[in-house]
Symmetry: C2
Subunit: 162 residues, 2 copies
């Protein structure tokens, strides 16, 4: 499938370009893997007629599991600015997946919560994520997957320059 067996002598040279040091770089491998995984995530959802990004999934899980979370706390957990979170919540709220309720104890805060339909959607999404995870981990044994997650965690901690 790479190229027509041996037909046209030099239809498309496909020069197999030189990547220099890149293949030895951890950051490069990470970036490429991340990109492929993101594409697989998107494809898995759109194939099921759903639309969601990994970030939105993480957000929904966090809100679903932590009742009455504030936007600032959520932004912190996601590692993004509070102002960045606003349009994301707007969209999710417009889709009817979550609501911003005024906190009774503190009039400044919004207590975030999934709607019932948001809860159902999250269950559905979680199923799709499991399918997706099965695919991206298909070339790894269960032990390798655990190892990988552990190593990624070490990288994350080592990178801390924030």
């Amino acid at each position: 499938m790479g190229r027509p067996p041996a037909k046209s002598p030099a239809a498309k040279p496909v020069p197999r370009l030189d990547r220099g040091v890149l293949p030895t770089l951890l950051g490069y491998a990470l970036r490429r893997a991340q990109s492929a995984v993101f594409a697989d995530f998107s494809a898995t959802f759109s194939a099921a007629g759903e639309a969601l990004t990994p970030g939105e999934f993480g957000l929904l899980v966090l809100v679903g599991r932590n009742a009455g979370l504030s936007q600032t706390a959520l932004a912190r957990a996601l590692g993004i600015d509070r102002s960045t979170l606003v349009p994301i919540l707007d969209r999710l709220q417009a889709r009817g997946l979550l609501v911003r309720r005024r906190s009774p104890s503190d009039g400044r805060m919004h207590a975030l919560a999934l709607t019932s339909s948001g809860g159902e959607a999250l269950a559905r999404f979680t199923g799709l994520v499991k399918t997706h995870e099965r695919r991206i981990g298909s070339r790894l044994s269960a032990a390798e997957t655990r190892t990988l997650i552990g190593l990624l965690e070490k990288v994350r901690l080592g990178a801390r320059s924030l």
Copy 2:
């Protein structure tokens, strides 16, 4: 500066929020590691008074190592659309790091090449990247780093849904 050592009993509860299934997900670990690594990359460069993204570094390496590369070939290698590449090259060219020369053999193509100053800059950048790589890999043995890169490659191949 983090917080007053042990003064007020419950100044900020910091509720340690529940991440649900997220910690078991490979995609989640990947995304978090990627984010931290990106931040470390930026910090490493800006601390040295330079400014570059991982993507730009990869692009420069590719152009430096593959003389006369066309924009379409480069976009393919980077996994982005040719139209996305245009403003990126504009910026790099404006910084004097590379040039678009018209190909003598094919008037449609641009033969990309680093300028001499671009070559010098790339050498400097490569040094910074090595520093950065040392930091993000600081909690890993050399063997673990190799293992990690190998596992990431397997993930990338497994994810192929393009």
